[in-house]
């Protein structure tokens, strides 16, 4: 089964509001990554947070990681119409779990202007 599961599946907000997406996973991880995908395009990397980190920022993005709860959240502040996209979390496990990323099914974010 999938390692990462995003919640909610879909989110619709007004421009200027904050958007929060959550990701839960099941096994030990080396890192957790968030990617964005605009409709019909490839994925773009947003942030990588390692298992020994608790919070990371990049511009309007804030990612938290709670390894005790096996969960992460992505916060987009002051959202814009251009943030409309699908957002995926992906977990990178320890080497014994294989040298690969495992992706969740994604959250579809719609920002209305």
């Amino acid at each position: 089964s999938q390692q990462g599961e995003e919640d909610p599946q879909a989110l619709s907000i007004q421009e200027g509001e904050n958007a929060t997406m959550n990701c839960s996973y099941k096994t030990s991880i080396n890192n957790l990554q968030w990617y964005r995908q605009n409709s019909g395009r490839g994925l773009v990397h947003l942030i990588l947070i390692r298992s020994n980190e608790r919070e990371k920022h990049s511009g309007r993005l804030r990612v938290t990681l709670d390894t005790s709860k096996k969960s992460s959240s992505l916060l987009i502040t002051a959202s814009r119409a251009a943030d409309t996209a699908s957002y995926f979390c992906a977990t990178g496990g320890p080497m014994e779990y294989g040298n690969k990323l495992v992706f969740g099914a994604g959250t579809i974010l719609r920002v209305k202007s």
Partner: protein, 113 residues
């Protein structure tokens, strides 16, 4: 900037045809990956390669094969295309598999009739 290119954006093939999808990256990455993406299922790993002429099965390798003759190029082959292989195919490259960022191509949307 890292660039990952895929040979086609859209492809229409008939059942039973042999299909080649090609991916090229320009960042000298050791690792390359092929995923397929289907609605509600996120990205699933088909095959990956950590070096020239090396390949490893991912989660859904059945019906696919790969070739990596040069470091920058990773090909996905559908030996005999079937309708259930209609999907979006995404190629990625990276320095270290699941432990670092992956860089994605724009995707190939394949329709098998």
């Amino acid at each position: 900037d890292v660039k990952v290119t895929q040979s086609s954006r859209y492809l229409v093939k008939r059942t039973g045809e042999k299909v080649f999808l090609e991916c090229v990256q320009d960042m000298d990455h050791e690792n390359m990956f092929w995923y397929r993406q289907d609605p509600g299922l996120g990205l699933r790993l088909i095959y990956f390669s950590y070096d020239v002429k090396m390949k490893e099965k991912g989660d859904i390798p059945e019906g696919y094969s790969v070739s990596r003759e040069k470091k920058e190029r990773f090909s996905l082959i559908l030996e005999s295309a079937s309708t259930n292989q209609t999907s979006m195919y995404l190629c990625a490259s990276g320095l270290a598999g699941g432990r670092e960022t992956q860089y994605f191509g724009p995707g190939t949307r394949l329709l098998v009739l």
